[in-house]
């Protein structure tokens, strides 16, 4: 599912690479980065652990941390990888 709400300039978007990490470290890394951001800022999270595609957005919503903007699968990868875009609340 792709839901596009709004984006800033690409250069303003924070990126974190948490490939290789599993839950709950996927959320831990996402959370500590979100804590350093301002409301409205965008973060792209690169990950390869499928359960996190559900867990991170749910935890972000429950804790009123961030809103899911989009999840895109990165094409042409042997192992599935995704970019999850979140907007800090």
């Amino acid at each position: 599912m792709i839901l596009v709400i709004a984006v800033k300039k690409k250069s303003d978007i924070k990126n974190i690479d948490i490939r290789g990490k599993v839950c709950p470290m996927t959320f831990v890394h996402t959370k500590i980065n979100l804590e350093k951001m301002e409301a409205g800022d965008i973060i792209d999270v690169i990950l390869d652990f499928a359960p996190a595609l559900d867990n991170i957005p749910k935890s972000c919503e429950t804790q009123e941390l961030a809103q899911l903007i989009s999840i895109k699968e990165i094409p042409n990868k042997e192992k599935k990888e995704w970019i999850m875009r979140l907007k800090k609340l």
């Binding site: 709950p24 470290m25 831990v28 959370k31 500590i32 804590e35 935890s59 429950t62 804790q63």
Partner: protein, 271 residues
């Protein structure tokens, strides 16, 4: 404060809590707690404070480990008999979490040294085994505006109160008044105590400290939480600050400078 990857993993299960996060964890790592007593109350408190990542822990105890301690003072083991409680604690706590800087004070807290020992504390946990020390800590912290918690146990019962002087909450002296001359002989060594009650009360003391540092939840202020394990009672008894209290009232005094707290030897027999 940036957390290392190892710290993120170590504290991950509390970082993911809404109330903690990386910000809260950093606060804990930068905090300074003073713990009086490494006995039955201090043991679980020390364990949980260290495990949670309190960055600076000052522990005060003058005593040595005795065989009769081991059923409840779980910080100390059979191999520690005869060792000072401070050195016994240091070994275990350092191994549990090297993030925690532990300062040992192998001494008794008295009216002469209480201000020096307790200054620079973000929070004080009182875990001694006698009412005179509890009142001294109450009076010193109230005068110096240091938040603190006091607990006491006997048999199957225990009680706990948290005091935040700057918020003018009721203090130990508001509740118990002048305790000079109180018979201290009815202590754990005379009446007995089940190890589980200080386990709970000591853990609650650590919980109060962490909640205060993180500014989360509700503190046990303006109340005595009374627990009776044998009857499964967990009662909150409302208490009201005495505006004329000499320790915490509108005209509070430096009582540690005036009173004789009669802090003598513990009545427990030493083998």
């Amino acid at each position: 404060m940036d957390l290392s990857e190892e710290q993120l993993i170590r504290y991950s299960r509390q970082i993911i809590l809404k109330e903690v996060g990386g910000i809260g964890q950093s606060k804990l790592l930068e905090s300074r707690i003073t713990l009086i007593g490494l006995g039955a109350l201090g043991s679980p408190a020390a364990y949980y404070l260290t495990a949670a990542g309190i960055g600076n822990l000052k522990i005060i105890d003058f005593d040595v480990v005795d065989l009769s301690n081991l059923h409840r003072q779980i910080l100390h083991f059979t191999n520690d008999l005869g060792q000072t409680k401070t050195s016994s604690a240091l070994r275990k706590l350092s191994e549990l979490n090297p993030d925690c800087n532990i300062e040992l004070v192998k001494d008794r807290i008295t009216a002469k040294n209480s201000k020096e020992l307790l200054k620079d504390s973000d929070f004080v946990i009182e875990g001694s085994d006698n009412i005179a020390t509890k009142m001294l800590v109450n009076d010193t912290c109230s005068y110096m505006n240091i938040p603190f918690v006091i607990a006491g146990v006997l048999r199957f019962q225990g009680q706990i109160i948290t005091v935040i002087p700057e918020e003018k909450t009721a203090c130990y002296r508001c509740v118990f008044g002048d305790v000079s001359g109180v018979d201290n002989s009815m202590s754990c060594s005379q009446a007995g105590v089940i190890g589980l009650i200080p386990a709970i009360l000591g853990s609650l003391e650590a919980s109060e400290a962490i909640k205060y540092l993180l500014n989360i939840g509700d503190l046990l202020i303006n109340q005595i939480l009374y627990i009776d394990l044998s009857q499964n009672r967990f009662d909150s008894i409302k208490v009201v600050r005495n505006n004329n209290c000499l320790a915490c009232g509108d005209n509070k005094e430096d009582l540690a400078n005036k009173l004789n707290y009669d802090i003598g030897d513990s009545c427990e027999e030493k083998i």
